[in-house]
Amino acid sequence: MVMSKELEKRSGVKTNSLTVIQAINNGLQTMLELDNDILLLGEDIGKNGGVFRATDGLQQKFGDHRVIDTPLSEAGFVGTAVGMALNGLKPVVEIQFLGFIYPALEQIATHVTRTRTRTLGHYHIPMVIRAPYGAGVRSPEIHSDSVEALFTHLPGIKVVCPSNAYDAKGLLIAAVEDPDPVLFLEPMRLYRGQREEVPMNAYRIELGKGKTLQAGEDVTILAWGAMLPIVEAAVEEMKQYQISCDVIDLRTLYPLDKEIIAGSVQKTGRVVIVHEGHETGGVGSEIISIINDTSFLFLKAPIEKVTGFDVPVPLFALENDYLPTKERVSKAIKQVYEF
């Protein structure tokens, strides 16, 4: 709980106790109020308020020229948003589930990410692509993908992923104000789990900065989004073995926060990375590469990754087998600790 009612009193900024999805809704509303150039586009985001209610009430409030229900056409509406961005608007598009971003990949890889470069900065694309991602909510096939690594590899787009309501709003506002494209990943699994005090004003959390959730000495744990509750449970369990963990929520996946990673690794010398995306080619490997570059001499044990597997995310009867679990994280922590 980053902002407390206490803080509200002191700062004079009103706060409300919100879930992650409510904080996103509130962040969108805050920005729609502040800047007329911001538009929302996506499937079922208008009258229906989004399949998760992220945009609930926004079309009523701002009109259907600002909160636009698009045809079922991801390439089409991302491309349309590119055209709007070229012409000075700031589109925030919703991909209904990250697994439905694939049809828009050509638009993203050849235009969203390249327009600034290919026009030498004459045009730029201040677009945010919001997408719920991840498994664990018993969704149908393709609805549970966690393919952030496809986008951290594409030059020209930042990738952000909050793990709580306060960060969700602050990162979303920073993303919307960023002059460049941002993929904003929303952990479905945490949408309604917990509430936090969220300020009602427009505040920003700088992109590219991780956050230390718990300081510890023995093992560095690097994670983001929906993995944090699992990490925290494992770290809690480790206390009984007197293993103390430095828990870092990376929050931005491109560019990664090299300082916070190196700082922690150079302190502990032992690292566990947790993500639900597939292991091979996942962001975890990139983090290992950064540690190799920055902290080679500090490492006391091979880095452990606890990740999703190199298999399509299974239908929900097996999704918990696919996902990192507290047990797998605990085992990895012990492993690096005992190496």
């Binding site: 969704s139 298999v311 299974p314 239908l315 097996l318 679990t325």
Partner: protein, 354 residues
Amino acid sequence: MKERYPLFQIMNKNGELLDHAYETEITVDQVKSFYYHMLRIRTYDQKGVALQRQGRIGTYVPFAGQEAAQVGSALALADKDWMFPTYRDHGASLTFGADLDRMLLHWNGRIEGCLPSREKHIMAASIPIATHLPHAAGAAMAETYKGTKNAAIAYFGDGATSEGDFHEGINIASVFKAPVVFFNQNNGFAISLPVNKQMNSQTIAQKAEAYDIPGKRVDGMDIFAVHFAVKEALERARLGEGPTLIEAVTVRFGAHTTADDPSKYRDQEEINRVREEIDPVLRLEKYMKHYNIWDGDWAATITNEIKAEIDEAIQRMESYQKPNAADMFDYVFEKPTWTIEKQKESIISTGRQS
């Protein structure tokens, strides 16, 4: 444009034939089979919604209102034809011959539920909208390549017409004269989006003109109209004359899925009110009564048979063997890569969690 694509009907709302030519074409057995299958999939559908409410399965996708479209089309297929359904077309799949047990397992998030029929070519339902239209074209082209007369049918909704794959699939099929029927169920909505915001065109059938292929708009609540239109299109296909686009105009009576609340975006009360009037199963019942082929005893018998069949299948579904985590690893490649083997071992050593 609607004038160029009038709604093709064979029987009117009261179950009376509009064209007497069909009196000889339609046999009593056929009508009974139509009725039986519509009743069967409706029973299944109602059970699906109920099981989801009771928390016995995951999200369910109801198709009530679309029974005539699904049964009428599925029963037009020949045994060796290919069916490419969506997540809403389990009615069609069941009618064509999909395994009932598996079609239930699927709603429990069981990969075993996707296992296609061994007797019929029915692909696992496609979730990413419109992606399976090119598959149908390809499967059909493969039949031509092999020199058979088999055809393929792809099911898709009104919303699917906005995706690039709809266009690319039909264009390719038209160029290669693939023996395929593109069967659209225009149920008026794509989740919350009404069809008039999905497209500027008055009909979906007219989109056929972009490819110079026949387009036909049929009353999707009239099982005869659906059936004979699909049959004709399949015949064209088998003759090597290429694809047809059929728009079956229908209504989704219920929610998009059991996770959806349609009252957020439409007057669901109104739909509930008119439902009886336009119900495709009731319309066929009226027809049967009007032409004196309704048999109350027979109806009671099949109602009970269907109930028993489905109840037993549900029992089997619920007592089905526990899911096997190995399935996740064993069907990615014919021979698992070392990465997958290593991962499989790690999960076995940590112990299953679910």
